[in-house]
């Protein structure tokens, strides 16, 4: 019986599966520019590996007109463009989802804040002051009228309570223009310009002593409502007249322009 034993017989035949052939190995093998040992290792691999065997067959079919390296490099770039640079992940880790959600929330909040933020905020803060109480008050809580109680809260700058009390008063005395006027100012201070506008309009429909004041604050209420045209129109009317607010109104119009 012949003896096939060689120093590395078993490893030559029963080697552990090796990595697939590289582009240069395949090209050099087909061009027959590999050493005997390299050639053996390549052929031993393609004996086992269908993918590499077919690849070697394919390479051998490519004519000299094809620049293999350039073509495969170009293909690699196309894959890079397709799968790396324009990636559209199907799923992400929970942490990534939380990050995306937090970012979205911040963007939404910022958008909301910027869209609702009044661009005339500083002008309003610098110029729109609550009208002082001109009505003498009875400080005795037992005998104070509803108007006096409301005005007391007004003087204390508790405009929310004041507005509630003015509404109580107006529910029983709807024609009380003082009540409407100070209720309007209170709403202006609690950032409820819509309600404020209604109160001032009621005052202006009457022949109240607070007409010019109501006009002045109505303009501010429109400005708080970001109704620039209405506000400007009313300020202009005040500026054109001769009253306590004319000078201020002219300055405001300059600022608005």
């Amino acid at each position: 019986m012949p003896n096939y034993q060689m120093p590395n017989t078993m490893t030559r035949i029963f080697y552990k599966n090796t990595a697939c052939l590289s582009e240069s190995q395949i090209v050099q093998y087909i061009q027959n520019v590999v050493s005997d040992e390299e050639r053996f290792l390549i052929e031993r691999h393609i004996t086992e590996c269908d993918v590499c065997y077919e690849a070697v067959q394919g390479m051998s079919k490519l004519g000299p007109n094809i620049d293999v390296k350039v073509t495969i490099d170009r293909l690699a770039h196309r894959l890079d463009e397709r799968f790396v640079k324009k990636r559209t992940p199907l799923m992400r880790s929970p942490i990534t989802y939380y990050s995306i959600a937090a970012t979205a929330l911040i963007i939404l909040a910022s958008t909301w804040y910027l869209s609702f933020r009044n661009p005339y905020r500083k002008l309003i803060a610098d110029n729109c002051r609550p009208y002082p109480n001109t009505i003498p008050l009875v400080r005795d809580t037992k005998s104070a009228t509803l108007l006096e109680s409301a005005l007391t809260q007004y003087e204390l700058e508790d405009y929310r309570n004041a507005a509630e009390l003015f509404q109580k008063l107006l529910s029983v005395e709807p024609g009380n223009m003082k009540g409407h006027f100070y209720a309007g100012v209170s709403y202006l201070m609690t950032e409820e310009p819509d309600k404020s506008i209604e109160e001032f309009k009621t005052v202006l429909r009457s022949t109240s002593e607070f007409s010019i004041e109501a006009k002045w604050y109505l303009a501010w209420a429109y400005l708080k409502n970001k109704d620039m045209d209405q506000a400007k129109h009313i300020f202009q009317g005040i500026a054109d007249g001769q009253n306590a607010f004319s000078e201020q109104a002219r300055n405001i119009i300059k600022e608005l322009n």
């Binding site: 019986m1 012949p2 003896n3 096939y4 034993q5 060689m6 017989t9 078993m10 490893t11 030559r12 035949i13 029963f14 552990k16 599966n17 990595a19 697939c20 052939l21 590289s22 582009e23 005997d36 050639r39 053996f40 052929e43 031993r44 393609i46 004996t47 086992e48 590996c49 269908d50 993918v51 590499c52 065997y53 077919e54 690849a55 067959q57 394919g58 390479m59 079919k61 490519l62 007109n65 094809i66 073509t71 495969i72 490099d73 170009r74 293909l75 690699a76 770039h77 196309r78 894959l79 890079d80 397709r82 799968f83 790396v84 990636r87 559209t88 992940p89 199907l90 799923m91 992400r92």
Partner: protein
């Protein structure tokens, strides 16, 4: 940055597939494909005109990425080879497109084609004198063509080309004889080693 030209060999195909499937990490998919870009291109060249190979390879990678997001792939290299071959053949037959059903069938076929003897580990027996004797006996029991190819290739260091010339057979036949010879040797050696262990 050309990730496809800088494959990360240290991570297994299975790990990259898992990373892609679990988190949609396209970078893992890119790394995986980069290992096989040239092989897919060359296999396309086996079946199709050279001018069609680049675009066909792109189509194949698209198919693979879609299929991998849906299917569990256990033997990527084998699946890649089969998918590439089938897609090329389908193009040759003017059948446009490839269905997911056909991909599923391919995957099932791949599973069935696994050679259960491939993983038989002879390395721990390399120093065994008894096994070397078994090897000699087993080779003698092989089919004549298989034995000749085995001797010429593994023991006389002849190339495929030289064997085809010597034996007047094709390269495919050389490869087939070598594969069959190895498969039969594994079986014979496995039986011999089992008998050896039984007698011990």
């Amino acid at each position: 940055m050309r990730l496809f030209l800088r494959p990360k060999k240290q991570i297994s195909d299975e790990s990259l597939i898992e990373a892609y499937r679990s988190s949609g990490d396209m970078g893992s998919l890119a790394d995986l494909f980069s290992r096989y870009t040239h092989l897919v291109f060359f296999i396309c060249a086996k079946y199709l005109p050279a001018a069609d190979c680049e675009d066909t390879a792109m189509e194949i990678f698209e198919l693979l990425s879609r299929a991998m997001s849906i299917h569990q792939v256990t033997n990527f290299k084998s699946w890649l080879g089969t998918t590439t071959r089938n897609h090329c053949l389908m193009k040759l037959r003017k059948n446009k497109g490839i269905t997911f059903e056909s991909i599923e069938n391919m995957m099932e076929n791949e599973e069935n084609e696994k050679d259960f003897m491939q993983n038989y580990d002879f390395e721990h027996l390399l120093e065994s004198e008894a096994l070397v004797q078994s090897l000699n006996r087993s080779i003698e029991r092989l089919d004549e063509r298989q034995k000749l190819c085995l001797k010429l290739f593994y023991f006389e260091n002849k190339s495929y080309e030289e064997i085809t010339t010597t034996l007047q057979i094709s390269q495919d036949q050389v490869r087939s004889h070598l594969q069959n010879a190895k498969r039969n040797l594994r079986i014979l050696l496995g039986k011999a080693h089992y008998a050896e262990l039984s007698n011990a």
